[in-house]
């Protein structure tokens, strides 16, 4: 009996060890998600004291909601450009950092600065930089003779979308850089030397050695950045507020307005569920199509 008790404890012990973490995740993640699903099945308009069950009607209405579809389009554009440009730029910088020997720590520290600045402060700073009359960007471009007169960056499309994507890339660059740089450290030096001896050029080295080696990191960064870009809110809210007109309005800002300002919480919950679904879809696609063998 003692033996079987000991065996039971041995088997149950690992489960008991991670049970607290599982409980916390269920409470912090699971419960709110279930609550969100529940809310999305109701009309819950606090402004009109209307709360009643409506089933999947919100989801059906979303299909014909022109504003929702338009903002979904804006979101996908935002995600595509901010993630792809961010990763490309991050890769270039990581490769450069990999090569640099002089003042490497200084460059890394400088490149990490965007990460240290809170979103709100960064948004306000960039908003002023893009300002037509008082902004430093126009002053610099006019000094370099690239502009003849000040340009209204935040008041025109597509420049407004370009501006918010630029700031998103700028703020996400440190994260991408660090992850990819860490991946580059895993590449065995002997292989690099062997390729040099074999006469491989930079592009061949990148294609046949570097990229395969850092693909797990690329996939990780792609997944994380896509998740964050899909729910981007703070920078857009501060810099353009979704404007001009509603040309930089994305799903996250629309969900926020609908739920918190218009107090239509059921509809807002349904939109949140759709956004969650899109996020899971993207992650699933990445996992399926970017599977690579890991190199040890």
């Amino acid at each position: 009996m003692v033996k079987s008790l000991t065996r039971f404890i041995d088997q149950a012990f690992p489960t008991c060890m991670f049970l607290p973490a599982v409980i916390i995740v269920l409470v912090v993640v699971g419960f709110p998600t279930l609550k969100l699903i529940h809310t999305s099945l109701y009309v819950r308009e606090l402004l009109y004291n209307r709360i009643y069950f409506i089933g999947l009607s919100h989801y059906v209405n979303l299909i014909t909601d022109k504003l929702f579809l338009s903002y979904l389009g804006h979101t996908l554009v935002y995600v595509f450009f901010s993630v792809s440009v961010g990763i490309l730029l991050g890769l270039v910088l990581a490769l450069a950092m990999h090569k640099i020997t002089l003042f490497k720590s200084l460059f890394i520290t400088l490149l990490l600065i965007p990460w240290m600045i809170p979103d709100v402060a960064a948004g306000i700073m960039w908003k002023w930089m893009f300002d037509k009359i008082f902004g430093v960007l126009n002053v610099l471009l006019m000094m370099l003779k690239l502009l003849r007169e000040p340009y209204y960056w935040l008041g025109n499309m597509p420049s407004a979308m370009f501006c918010v994507i630029t700031v998103e890339v700028w703020s996400s660059l440190p994260f991408i850089l660090l992850i990819l740089y860490a991946g580059l450290q895993r590449i065995p030096q002997e292989l690099e030397e062997a390729m040099m001896i074999d006469g491989a050029n930079g592009w061949q080295k990148l294609r046949f050695l570097t990229l395969p080696y850092i693909m797990p990191e690329v996939r990780f960064v792609l997944a994380i950045r896509t998740m964050f870009a899909l729910r981007a809110f703070g920078l857009i809210w501060i810099i353009t507020g979704g404007g001009p007109s509603d040309k930089t309005e994305v799903l996250a800002t629309y969900i926020y307005k609908t739920g918190q300002i218009f107090l239509r919480q059921g509809y807002s919950a349904a939109m949140s569920m759709v956004l969650l679904g899109i996020t899971i879809l993207f992650l699933g696609l990445y996992l399926k199509f970017l599977q690579v063998e890991t190199h040890e």
Binding site: R148, G241, S245, D246, I261, R264
Partner: protein, 420 residues
């Protein structure tokens, strides 16, 4: 022995903490949601300090940033939270607050005899369909023209224009590229066209000066009328056709408009008379500041948009009698007198204007009194969502994506789609 001594000290300390908690719980502290930073409202701070001394009731002032006011104040009441006992509310919100029964009636602290001292227009918005009064009119912010008298007189105008045509002619004269580099250094006019409240208030001002209205008597939106189209078209023309207004107005709320004027970048602005008068007077161009009535489409006196502020009592407050006392105190004669002197909070207690000291101390008091006499404020249930819809369409028109008629028609269509 030592062990028992530590135990005794521990029990004694715990008891003291427990007793302190109980006594703190018995002391009433009201939560007051202040619109904006406390630093900008010295009069409110003084009035509340006086209230604390007079009544022994403590008040915790919580500043609510302008852009968050709708979200926080509406959210607090809708979720039946008790964080705030008294809220500084905009008149536009009252239909939502009253119809949802989120705020407490104030008849016992605001009897008819006292009501007679307040502006009738402001009172009507505070009354519910049940005939009860739900808010005190505290102060108002009538719209006036703020202009540089030195520039306007140099342009040949001894009096400010009264019609849109004359106003446009003046703005053209005052839009100047002083150094000939192709970049306008001074604009004739600046208005707020930023998302939400900025462009909504600007459009409403133009609408009223075109003798139009937002809603009819039954609450149906009618801002796509001839007057509404004329108002929006004039806004568009000022910016896009005549370029007397900078295109950066698309980012401006009223604070940025004031900053633009104070920096000398514009000669004229339409803005809320109130603490802004003090700020403008203290700016570099303060000595040249004059106020005037808004020009109208046909030159005849028109209503003036007048945002009015009311202290309202959260119906879920745990200290209803004390909260009602605070609301009444904030809007009494003495408080309104103090607010007018310290902050230019334009009072709605009419006797304040008759004070000889006020007449002597407050510049432009006649212009302000004139604006209040024509004050107009309309509101509708679902105000925040309506404002969002309409401001989006107006901004689309200002960007040239739609005509004025299309924009206003689309706004009403969207309101109907959402059952607003």
């Amino acid at each position: 022995m030592r062990h028992h001594s530590f135990e005794s000290i521990g029990i004694l300390l715990l008891s003291l903490v427990f007793i302190a908690q109980i006594s703190m719980a018995q002391e009433v502290t009201l939560g007051f949601a202040n619109a904006g930073a406390i630093e900008s409202d010295p009069a409110t701070v003084e009035i509340i300090r006086a209230f604390e001394i007079d009544t022994g009731i403590k008040v915790k002032i919580v500043p609510i940033p302008g852009p968050k006011m709708v979200e926080i104040d509406y959210g607090t009441l809708a979720r039946k939270e008790t964080t705030f006992d008294v809220i500084e509310a905009l008149g536009k919100w009252l239909p939502d607050f009253i119809q949802n029964q989120w705020i407490a009636p104030l008849d016992e602290v605001f009897p008819p005899k006292l009501q007679a001292h307040y502006s009738p227009g402001a009172l009507s918005l505070a009354k519910g369909a049940d005939g009860k009064i739900y808010a005190f009119p505290w102060y108002t912010q009538p719209t006036l023209v703020f202009y540089r008298a030195d520039l306007v007189e140099a342009a040949g105008y001894q009096e400010f224009p009264s019609s849109w045509d004359e106003f446009l002619a003046l703005c053209k004269k005052l839009t100047v590229d002083s150094d000939g580099d192709g970049v306008t250094d001074q604009y004739g006019f600046v208005y707020a066209a930023g998302s939400g409240l900025g462009v909504w208030d600007t459009f409403t001002r133009f609408l009223y000066t075109a003798h139009g209205s937002l809603y009819d008597q039954d609450g149906n939106p009618i801002f796509n009328s001839e007057a509404g189209v004329a108002a929006l078209q004039f806004m568009i023309d000022l910016k896009n056709t005549h370029t007397v207004v900078p295109e950066t107005v698309m980012d401006y709320q009223e604070g940025e408009v004031a900053d633009f004027w104070k920096a000398g970048k514009a000669a004229i602005m339409w803005n809320e008379a109130g603490s802004l008068i003090l700020q403008a007077l203290q700016s570099k161009y303060g000595p040249y500041l004059k106020l005037a009535r808004l020009p109208s489409l046909d030159g005849k006196p028109a209503p003036s948009l007048s945002d009015t502020i009311y202290p309202v009592v959260n119906v879920h407050s745990r200290h209803l009698p004390e909260a009602k006392k605070l609301a009444a105190y904030l809007a009494n004669y003495r408080s309104q007198w103090t607010g007018f002197l310290m902050e230019f909070n334009v009072p709605l207690f009419q006797a304040v204007f008759d004070s000889p000291y006020i007449k002597e101390q407050i510049p432009f008091s006649e212009a302000i009194k004139d604006a209040i006499s024509r004050a107009k404020l309309e509101s509708h249930r679902g105000y925040a969502e309506i404002q969002d819809i309409v401001s989006r369409e107006i901004r689309a028109a200002l960007l040239g994506e739609k005509t004025a008629q299309q924009a206003l028609d689309d706004a009403i269509k969207e309101m109907k789609r959402r059952n607003l």
